[in-house]
Symmetry: C2
Subunit: 224 residues, 2 copies
């Protein structure tokens, strides 16, 4: 990728650790699709605000949603410049020196502005994508949004046209340094995510077994 860096727009170019940067859509989409939560930053008046939000990618768009009463939704729908960042931490990087300690992670960052999605079909597809991202197969098991819920919810979309991914993987960087002569253990301790046992809602009617979607989920790797 290094040879293509001059074509990368300035604000998504990975400057610190440029070899960690990825600018192809497959790499970016991979992180977006594995992550569960995004941090969405925007300016609100003079302030910078950073809010954790559920999201979903469909094609070239990142969708988020929120109450029609949400200030963040209003500010974003008004065209505030936004940055969507998704980060999955994969491990502790333990070097022989304090300085070289780090974390392994996959991240993706997309810049742009959100627009309100008005089209009824696209809005419903976004609802489906949010539900399916949390739990594949869930959309077909649950009640679809009704008119009241649709009216209370704004769906916003950002085009993925200025984005990058950044990946730090592998061992610490001091294997080839004089520090490698030290007696200190160095390496990576992976951070692993898994699903715990499903906890039925207290109000669940007796005799209802765990959904098929949940059973399938428990055999898969969880999202980031």
């Amino acid at each position: 990728m290094a040879g293509k860096r001059h074509q990368v727009p300035s604000r998504v170019r990975v400057r610190r650790g440029p070899k960690k940067g990825r600018y192809d859509r497959a790499s970016i989409d991979d992180v977006l699709d594995r992550g569960l939560l995004a941090h969405v930053a925007f300016a609100d008046g003079g302030d910078a605000v950073c809010i954790p939000m559920l999201y979903a990618r469909v094609g070239d768009r990142i969708y988020i949603h929120g109450s029609t009463k949400s200030r963040a939704v209003r500010v974003l729908a008004d065209g505030a410049l936004a940055c969507v960042t998704v980060t999955i931490v994969n491990g502790l990087v333990l070097a022989r020196s304090a300085f070289e300690h780090s974390a392994n992670y996959d991240s993706a960052m997309a810049f742009g502005t959100f627009t309100l999605v008005e089209d009824a079909d696209e809005r419903m597809r976004a609802f489906e994508a949010f539900t399916e991202k949390l739990l594949p197969g869930r959309w077909d098991e649950v009640r679809r949004p009704d008119a009241t819920e649709l009216k209370a919810t704004e769906i916003l979309a950002m085009e993925i046209d200025e984005a990058s991914a950044k990946v730090r993987a592998g061992p610490p960087d001091d294997d080839d340094s004089p520090d490698a002569e030290r007696d200190t253990w160095a390496g990576v301790v992976p951070i692993v995510r898994s699903y715990g046992s499903p906890e039925a809602s207290p109000g669940l009617r007796p005799g209802i077994g765990v959904s098929e979607s949940v059973r399938r989920l428990l055999t898969r790797d969880p999202p980031g």
Copy 2:
């Protein structure tokens, strides 16, 4: 906490789901201390930027660090208004309706500006805090930063004086709705983090066993 909400500064007040808001330092510090990674948002020129960063809390301050050559460090050190958000996802919230699907999470958000830490002792304490946050006990096992490393690194601090936490926990919200009559399983699927087996660095000298800090870590819950 509801009765104290009118005293909370506007930009940290939790408006959507106000019962989820926490404004006491113990709740805020709890999230900051359990999280591993922060998302730091700030305005850079006209853009909003959101960067994942390792961090540490010491007393009333959140510390981050970066290369002296980092643009983010320069912009933050110049006094850009910043927002530090730490989010720990704890589970999938599966309701009977698509609309009520959600995630359980703990988050903390702090607003303010960063200042460069110039004091040599405080800088070294911050390095210690970064190292100890990744892996308690690690600081005493590794080589401390030397003059070259200290010169290449900026430490920045933000006072925690305008912050809030937001917590979503427990079952889906539709136990008391007509949807509870449906045949759909509802509940929470916990997301659990754990540590995998330590992976020695390829350049590790033969005969060096896993550090005591790593052995202790593997008996603990991992950070968020």
